[in-house]
Symmetry: D2
Subunit: 337 residues, 4 copies
C-alpha cells in the first residue's frame, strides 16, 4: 500500500500516520521527495479497508497497489485454467458452444432443441428449471421436472448440461442433474450461495453482475475458489449503462482484460447482452474475435411460443449459420470449434 | 400496450400482427393516422414480455404504457403506507433515524453505541451480525452471538432493532431477534430470499441495488408484497456510476420519484452512498430536505478500530450534530423528528 | 405521439388534455379501453417537447413513437449511404482502414508512419494538427504546419487524409488540407460546429460522445445533414461506464444497432475505446466481426517518444498483424479489405 | 508518481524502467519490500501520460498520486474563491439565487419574469439568447435581440445577467450584455471555447458535462484559470446514468466533494438535473442542505407556452415557495439568502 501525505503535514501528524500503519500490521518505508512525502506500507492483507488510512489527518491519497483477489489472479497462477468435463475442455484451444432454450418448458421442446444443438456441433445444453424473474407474476420454471427433462435430453444427444442455481437449498438437487452450475448475474454477489458452491466439486459458471466491475467479478470468483472449488469459468453478459437501444451493453473488452488479469476461462453470452435476436449473430462473431473461450446462446424451435425470453432466442437455421461463422472466425485466431 | 407499425407495412403484415396480439390475449384497437398506424392492445398482463411483439414483422415500436408493478404502485393504493412497530411509525409525518455500527463486534461496543443512539433521540438500532463482504477473507460477522448482543443492547435502551438477512435459511433465526429485516443492495434481486421474506410478518427494508432502476427496485418490492407481507420500506443507498471520488452516487431524486410512483416509505443511507465520514453530514441533511422518511447512519464509538466500514462511521459528537441539523431541516418542511 | 391518461381522470380533465393537444397542432384520436383511455396525437414535429404534455393534469405517460431524427434514419433512406472520395468508398462492401499517429509531430515521423500505413494496404492517413487535450498544459498540436506535413505525407504515399476540426474558425484552413473532417467525441454536441460543417462539402466523421446514446449521436448527425452535407459517417470509440480497467467501454453492439436505424456508415476506433495497445488487436477484430464499415487505429513508429497517446499506438509490426487478421475476418462475413 | 513493479521482474527490466523514468525527467527513489519493489518517481508534470510507464515491461501498476489540476485545487489556494460582481458575492456566506426562463422569447415575457425574480429576492436573471438544442429543428434563440431584452429587463429590476455562450465567435457580442458567461454541459470540454473565455475578464459559470467526473470538470476549470481568468464558478446539473425516471441523475455529493478538492464556488441546477417541475422544489432544498453556494432555477410566467424547456420551469408561486424554503434551510447551516 502506498500512502501519499499532504504537502503541509506536520512532523507530529507524520508520526501519527506511521503509528497507525504499524498498528494495522504494516512495515513502513518513508521516502521524502521535494514536494511530498510518500509512505510505502508493506504487507497489505486482501481484506484491509484502505479507507482506514485515508481518513487519518494529513493523508492525501492511499493506493492499495495489490489486487484484492489472489487465487483468481494471473500472478498466483500463470497457466490458463482448463476445466475438463468428460471429453470437453473449457479454457483450452477449443471454443466451446453452450446452447439451448431459456427455460425448459416440456419434453417435446427440450428434446427437439437438444437435437438441433447436438447436430450443430455444440457440446453443452443449457436450459433453466429455476428461473430468476424480475416479475413475481412471471413463469418461474418447472423445477425438478425441468431438471429431469434437461438431463434426459442431454443424455440422448450426448451433451453436457448447464443450468442455473438460485439458492443454496437447491444445490444438492441440481447437482444430481447438472454438469455445470450457472450463477446468474443477479446472484453474482450472493455471497452465501458462492460460499456453498465453493464446497461442491462440479464446475461453476459465474455470470457478471449488471453493475460489477471486472474486479468485483474476480472477487466473487475468489469466494468460490477460496472455499475449495477451482473449476470456475466467468461469463460476460452485458453491463448496465445509459444506452437503451440494447438491453445491456456487451462489454467485450472485458474478455482480453480478464485474460490478462486472471487464468480463468471467459464465456460470452450475446443473447442476454443484447436482448434481441437480430443482434445475436454479429455479437457472437465479435465475442469469438475478441478471444472468448466459449459462447452461450439461446435457441428455440418455436420462439414465439417460448415461456421466457423468446425474443432473444435464435431460430434453428439462424443458430446453424452462427455456428458456421464463428467456427471460421475461431480459425482466423488459431482456435478450433 | 401500444404497438406502432412501420410506415410501409403491408395489409397482410398488419393482419398478422393483430392475429398474434389476439392470440396473446389482447383486445386490439386500430387507429390509422396520416403517416402511421397504431394498435392499442388492451389487457397487458404484468409479466408479458413486450419483445414478443417487437420482433414481429412490420412492428416499429412497442410501449407497455402500464407499470409492471401493481401492489407497490400509487395507482393501487393512494394513501402512504405507514408501518407501525410498537410506538414507532415509519412513513408518517415523523422522520425516523436508524443508527448504529456496521457490524456488532462485542458487548462493550454495541452497548456503548446503543446508549449514544438512544440519547440522540433515534428510535432504531442498526448492526450487522451476518455481513455480506466483497472479500471472502474479510470479517463476516458474529452470527447468532451478534444478534443476541444487538437485541439486548436495544432492549436496554428501548430501541427497535434492524439487521440484515442474507439468505432464506437465516430468516427464522433472525426473526427471533429483530424488528425489521434488512435486505442488502447485493441481494435486491435475490428473488428466492424476497419470496421467503414475503411470507414473514415482520417489516422489511429493501435497499436499492447498485444497478437497479427505480422500476427494478419497485419490482423487487412487489415480490415481497405479492407473497403477503405489506410492510415494505425502501432504502436509497447510492447507485454505481462513472464517478470515483465517492463510493457510489447518491440518487436523492429517487426519493420524490418513489413518493410519486409508490405508497411505500423511503429511507436514505448517506453512509453507504458516500463511503466517507465527512460527506455523511451534508448528505444526511440533503436527504431529509429531499423528503426522506428516515435515515440510516453508521455511528461508532471507536471507528478506527471498527472491524468493518469504520471510515464511513460518524463519531458520537458528529452524530449528535447531525441529529440537531436534520431535526431543523425536517421542521422546515413541516415534519417532526 | 401516444398519450396515456390516468385511470381516475375526470371528463373535464380529458377535455383539457385534448384541447391542449389540438392547440399544439395535433389531430387527436381517442381510444377507450377497459381500464384506461389512450389518446393518439397525430402529427408530432421532430422538435416537440413531449414533457409539455406529460405535465398536464391527468396524463400518466407520453410516448413520442417517432424517432426524433429524420434525414439520418433508415426510414427516410433505405439504401446504405456510400461516401466516395477519389477511389475510396466508405459504407460499401469494403472495410476501410484509417491509420496513423495521434498527433503529427514532425516531418520524419509522419512520413515514416505514412509509408507503413500505405504498405499495409490502408487507404486513409489519420493525424492530429489541432488536439483537444484534457489538460491545458499538454501538447496542443502543430497547427497549420502539422496539416501541411500530413497532406504531403499522404500525397507521397497516395493516401487520403482525415484530421480533426475543433472549432468553426478552423474549418476553412483545414478544408484546404484534408479529405475528411473528424469531429471528436467531446465536440459531438458542439452544435455550432456541426451546423457550420453541414455547410461544407467534404465528408465528416462524427465520433460518438462519451455519454451519448445512439439516439443523441444520430441527432448530431442530423445537424450536419440538415445543413446540407449528406456525407456523414459515424465512429464508435467507447462510452463512459463504471468499469475502470479499460479507458472507456467499447460499445460494439452499437454497430448493428446503427445499421438498423440509420443508413450512415459506422467506423470503430479500438485505440481510443480501450486506451492500451494490447487490447487494440482483439477489439479491432471484434469490431469488424460485428460489422464495422471501417477501423481507425493509432500507429506510431516510436510510441515511447510520441507526444500524445503513445501508449495506445500500435507498433508497425503489430499493425501489420492486425491488418492481416481483420482482412480474414472481413472475408468470413463476405466483405473485402 | 508511484510505479509498482511486477513480482517476478528481472534486474535488467528494473534498470530499463528506471532509465525510462529518468529520461522522462523524474528523480527515482526505489523501495524494496518483501514481495514487491516500488519506485517513487518525483516530479510528475500535470500533463504527463502515466500510460507511458504502464506499458513498460515489468510494470504492474502506476499511480499519479498528484492531482492533474493545479490552479483549481484547494492545495494551491486554501481560501474559498469569492467572486464579486457589483454588490453580489458568489462563494461567500450568502447562497445566491439565479432564476429566469430557459430562453428569452419576447419583451413582455422577460420583463414579467424579471419582475417576479427580483421580487423573490433573487439577485441574478438567467435567460438564453443562443440555445444549444439537441434537434436542429428546435428554436435556437433570439440572438442579439434576446441579449438586449435580457439586459434591459435585468437593469430595470436591478438584477445581474447570466447567459450562455456557445462558441468563441460570440464572446465579444455577449460580453457587452452579460455579467456572467455560462458554459453549457455539452461544451464543458470545448477546449477552444474555454481557452478564449480564459482571456476575458468576466466571471464564468462552468456546467458539469453529462459524463464528466469531478476531475474532468476541475480540469476544464483549469483551462480557464490557466488562461488568466480566475473568476470561475462550477454548476452541478446532473450526470447521465442508467436511471430513466429522471432526465439526469443529480449528483449532490459532488458539492461537498468539490468543496474539499477545490476553492471554487459550486452552484446547483435542479431544473436541468431532474427535468420535471415537481422535482425542482425538493431537489433545490436538498442542494442547499448539501452546501451549494447558489441555485440556478428556471421560472416562467406561462410555462405551457414556453418555446423551450417549459415543463421544467416553475410557476411564479412555486418559485416564491421555493425561495422561502431554501432561505430557511440556508439558515439551518448558518448561511444567508
Amino acid at each position: 500500500m502506498v500512502v501519499v501525505l499532504e504537502k503541509n503535514i506536520s512532523d507530529k501528524q507524520i508520526e501519527n500516520v506511521i503509528k497507525h500503519l504499524e498498528e494495522f500490521g504494516f512495515a513502513v518505508h518513508k521516502s521524502t521527495g521535494v514536494e511530498q512525502i510518500i509512505l510505502g506500507a508493506i504487507g497489505v492483507k486482501p481484506d484491509f479497508d484502505t479507507r482506514k488510512v485515508k481518513i487519518l489527518d494529513g493523508v492525501a491519497e492511499v493506493y492499495r497497489i495489490t489486487e484484492p483477489f489472489k487465487l483468481a489472479s494471473r500472478t498466483f497462477r500463470k497457466e490458463d485454467t482448463v476445466i475438463k468435463i468428460k471429453d470437453v475442455s473449457i479454457g483450452g484451444n477449443e471454443v466451446i458452444m453452450m446452447a439451448g432454450p431459456c427455460s425448459v418448458e416440456n419434453e417435446d421442446q427440450i428434446f427437439t432443441i437438444a437435437e438441433i444443438v447436438a447436430k450443430s456441433g455444440a457440446k453443452i445444453l443449457r436450459g433453466g428449471a429455476f428461473k430468476p424473474r424480475t416479475s413475481p407474476y412471471a413463469f418461474q420454471g418447472l423445477g425438478e421436472d425441468g431438471l429431469r427433462l434437461l438431463r434426459n435430453a442431454a443424455d440422448k444427444y450426448n451433451l453436457l448440461v448447464i443450468t442455473e442455481v438460485m439458492e443454496s437449498s437447491q444445490i444438492n438437487l441440481i447437482e444430481e442433474y447438472t454438469d455445470i452450475f450457472q450463477v446468474g448475474a443477479r446472484n453474482m454477489q450472493n455471497f452465501s450461495l458462492l460460499r456453498d458452491l465453493g464446497k461442491t466439486t462440479k464446475p461453476i459458471m459465474l455470470k457478471r453482475g449488471l453493475a460489477a466491475t471486472v474486479e468485483d467479478w474476480l472477487m466473487s470468483a475468489e469466494y468460490i475458489l477460496a472455499n475449495g472449488n477451482r473449476d470456475v469459468m466467468l461469463c460476460e453478459r452485458g453491463i448496465r449503462t445509459f444506452e437503451t437501444y440494447t438491453r445491456n451493453t456487451f462489454d467485450l473488452s472485458a474478455i482480453p482484460v480478464v485474460h490478462k488479469r486472471s487464468h480463468l476461462p471467459v464465456i460470452a453470452d450475446p443473447s442476454h447482452a443484447t436482448g434481441l435476436r437480430d443482434k445475436v449473430l454479429p455479437m457472437a462473431r465479435a465475442a469469438v474475435a475478441a478471444g472468448a473461450d466459449g459462447l452461450m446462446v439461446e435457441v428455440h424451435n418455436d420462439p414465439e411460443k417460448a415461456l421466457s425470453d423468446g425474443p432473444q432466442a435464435l431460430l434453428p437455421e439462424q443458430f446453424m449459420e452462427l455456428m458456421q461463422q464463428v467456427k471460421l472466425i475461431a480459425g482466423v485466431i488459431g482456435r478450433k470449434m
